[in-house]
Point group: C2
């Protein structure tokens, strides 16, 4: 986020004191909670002295301000929240750079190279996988490179419907710039308010509009990235047929190959026709079957997700006994009622009953958007709250789901939190499979809470690996999933990625330890440190 | 094709003598044609002695049979047809391998490496860009690796709707295996009858079903490739979020990084609902605008392509005065009449009139499928017949179209063929742009016909480069477009591709000169040659 010492988003977005109490009271019958502990304040944050000081023009946008360093230390994983609450800021970067333009990014990379420092690109700071955190085992000084000022829409092509967007642009700013032209990107990850275009592109972000063009990847015409070897910019191409797609090197590269500085993204006309439907399933398996029928219908609802009964009730959208399939259709061109009627038929074919008109989908969406704020409170109240996600084909989904939920529940109990709860939903539906999203909620053990989540994660990732499901669907790899990715990736895929890294970042400046194991490339003596 | 010394497809598919005469007579009023010259026969083919002989088990599937060598010398570009007619087979491979299984592919690569030979993967042999031709400037012996016997569907997952397909499977065999299960891949490139799954994947093949999921890439769950460094196999993933997508290294790699041996491809239920419409436009620009409206409607017709008046009349689908927009919708789940009605409204909004019921779309499709056979006759009758294609955004399409058509016309005239014709169509529509497909038809000059097409191509590629349009949309790069690709690619994109090549094919065995400039990697002395 780069703004608060603890907590999602903004102070004004956070729960009020009354809302905090209400939330904790609501959870208490289910799980043991304490009164929320206080968030850290700056005087409580103990930072080691920075090992580098910027010189000359760089000093205008790079420095070692303690608040900047502390707010660029972590992302938004549970382990990040815990370490903040424990006043542990040891991984703080030595310096935070906030360049005003691409020239400043280039200068930062050059200066980092000359001083043998590590550079960690920082967009919205909403990573939940350790994607913006300094490498624990690298002796080099660390610069957090905040792209907030590379912001805005530079150009809009209303004929082709595409917009040239700078990497630091946050969701609401992007939409505000498109709205007067009747356009929208229609990309709504949960972090929409705070995450950035560059962060989306670097992490294969997937949106709330969750069938059809799910990923930001689907919107990419061109990419521009600043690498230690120079600028890599692709042309604007609706489709690419001339060899392996160079855009694919950068999409999902998580800041390890270059600093994405801008992109041409496809946009669409703002929808004027809408239809929504909530289907309830007493039989969870039939709900899954209905989700599959929807995904394989050839219709592409703008929204389609399945909540298990626990997920539904926790978010306030369900009654605890039924699974919910949330459906939404939209178009700027034509009415979508026929499409929605057909989706309703498909759900009914699988035993759905339909909502009573009290709009549980809206309740669910509100809960979805405010979930990170609520999580802050629950973690302060002593709960372990974390999410995990993966993807698999329909034929393997049931096995995976039972294995993953079971592994997480067992690991919670074994790690000292009996009685934890694991809920799940299908967040993104594809014709051939779905993304499985797990929420883990338990009273945290008293000591070594980071160790506890590491234990739970290890058990869960082992279950995913057994089911040949990847370590992530849309949260990314970061440092947290890197070892499991390395263990499950084909050896030659890792070799190719490492070769691309060598081609673009030969000295290994960029986000070492993310995606690829951190290995200091040899480059002779260090030019200077400190 | 790997079967005929000259000519597309099969003997039985070729035009009859009567059809040949009729075709030539039909063209004569437009363009000077001769009586078709005879295709070469094997005794007329003069091959140099092979420089290598396979030993042991390899000899069971690898050899230097003259017919096999001659039929694996070229693809199906105009320059390939001309060289065949001129009885020039100098680039013939020394050996043709047709391994029965993956083990045979591995053995071929190992043997080639040990003997310092080049390996050229060969699927259907339908490349029109020199993708299956020996490098002219490489001293190494050449093995053409025909994957025809790695054929068939190994597994079908009817739950997830995906099929595990071996690389040598041709279109009709694939569809025949899927049909009993009610499934279809719905991928119909013009070469469908003869091209293969592996060839499609290696070249970003794009189908006749030309909006929405256009490319074979869109169907890929997993890929398996045999590289000189070993097997690279990805998991089956409906979507990928864990770093740069390893499938993207191989898609479009044109045999330079590995030999794709199989893939899990997404399939769909066979459509049962259909609707077709042909819209006519007296005003070509309004036809383009209608195509754009269709592409940006959010509807995804299974077919949508725009023919210019000349293209329409040549294929027998038009009257010469109007452009045609061919539209098709289909579904296995729901009626598509409403969708088609809306597409018709969009066309009408742009001034369309509608077909008289004589089904010009069917005429066009027949012409499309038989076009390669007709081309054989026209080339034998002394015509230059070649196609070029690219893609651009809608805002740049008009400029590109005029520049490309003008450049081709001027180059034809300058190269000795005044009065040539250049027609065009939009073969693939995207929300943000379209693929522009040009057909060049002219009396060939008498001497150096290969030189003539090289001149025309150079002029056309220069026009594309000026308009920042890529060298290809779906024909691929091959040897023919490689220099222009290198000139127009970002330097760092080429560097990354070269690094991937080094990681997977360190000795540069695979298809040197395709995609990347041919450069013999140093590897000490040659182990043995001949």
């Amino acid at each position: 986020m780069g703004a608060r010492l603890f907590g999602w988003g903004t102070e004004s977005g956070a729960l009020s004191s009354a809302e905090e109490h209400a939330l904790v009271d609501r959870v208490r019958p289910w799980l043991a909670v304490t009164a929320p502990v206080a968030a850290p304040t700056l005087p409580e944050v103990d930072l080691t002295p920075p090992r580098l000081a910027p010189a000359g023009a760089l000093a205008s946008f790079m420095g070692s301000d303690p608040l900047a360093r502390a707010t660029h230390t972590y992302g938004q994983a549970y382990r990040d929240l815990v370490r903040r609450l424990e006043r542990r800021f040891a991984p703080a970067p030595d310096l935070v750079a906030r360049p005003p333009d691409e020239g400043g990014v280039v200068a930062t990379l050059e200066w980092a190279d000359a001083h043998d420092a590590v550079v960690i690109p920082f967009g919205g700071g909403t990573s939940v996988v350790g994607g913006v955190e300094a490498p624990p085992d690298d002796p080099r000084p660390v610069i957090s490179l905040d792209l907030a000022d590379l912001s805005g829409i530079v150009e809009v092509d209303t004929i082709s419907r595409a917009a040239r967007c700078r990497a630091g642009t946050r969701g609401p700013d992007l939409e505000a710039a498109l709205a007067p032209r009747g356009l929208t990107l229609r990309h709504f990850p949960q972090s929409f308010e705070f995450s950035t275009v560059g962060g989306w592109l670097a992490t294969h972000a997937a949106g709330h509009y969750a069938t059809g063009p799910t990923r930001i990847d689907d919107a990419v015409e061109s990419l521009r990235a600043i690498t230690p070897r120079g600028i890599l910019e692709t042309g604007r191409h609706p489709s690419w047929g001339a060899g392996p797609d160079p855009r694919a090197w950068l999409l999902g590269s998580e800041g390890t190959l270059g600093v994405i500085s801008e992109a041409w993204l496809r946009v669409v006309a703002r929808p004027t026709f809408h239809a929504r439907l909530v289907a309830r399933f007493a039989d969870l398996d039939r709900g899954v079957a209905a989700a599959r029928a929807v995904a394989q219908s050839g219709l592409r609802p703008a929204n389609a997700r399945l909540l298990d009964p626990l997920e539904a009730v926790v978010s306030g959208a369900g009654d605890g006994g039924t699974a919910l399939l949330l459906l939404g259709c939209e178009s700027a061109d034509h009415p979508v009622d026929g499409e929605m009627a057909r989706l309703g038929e498909l759900a009914a074919d699988h035993g759905a009953s339909f909502s009573d008109g009290t709009r549980p989908d809206a309740r669910w969406r509100d809960a979805f958007v405010r979930a990170p704020y609520a999580r802050d409170v629950l973690v302060r109240a002593g709960l372990l709250v974390e999410t995990f996600e993966t993807v698999t084909t329909w034929d393997r989904l049931d096995t995976l789901r039972h294995a993953a939920v079971g592994a997480a529940e067992d690991a919670l109990a074994a790690s000292g939190s009996p009685g934890g709860r694991v809920s799940w939903r299908l967040t993104h539906l594809y014709p051939d499979g779905a993304a499985l999203y797990l929420t883990v909620l338990a009273p945290a053990r008293a000591r070594d809470r980071v160790g506890q989540i590491d234990e739970v994660r290890a058990a869960l990732l082992a279950a995913l690996a057994s089911a040949q499901a990847p370590v992530t669907h849309h949260h990314g790899v970061g440092r947290v999933h890197q070892p499991a990715l390395a263990a499950s990736s084909p050896e030659l895929a890792t070799a190719v990625l490492a070769s691309a890294k060598s081609a673009l970042d030969p000295h290994g400046l960029l986000n070492p330890g993310v995606l690829l194991a951190s290995s200091r490339p040899g480059r002779g003596r260090r030019d200077s440190v400190g």
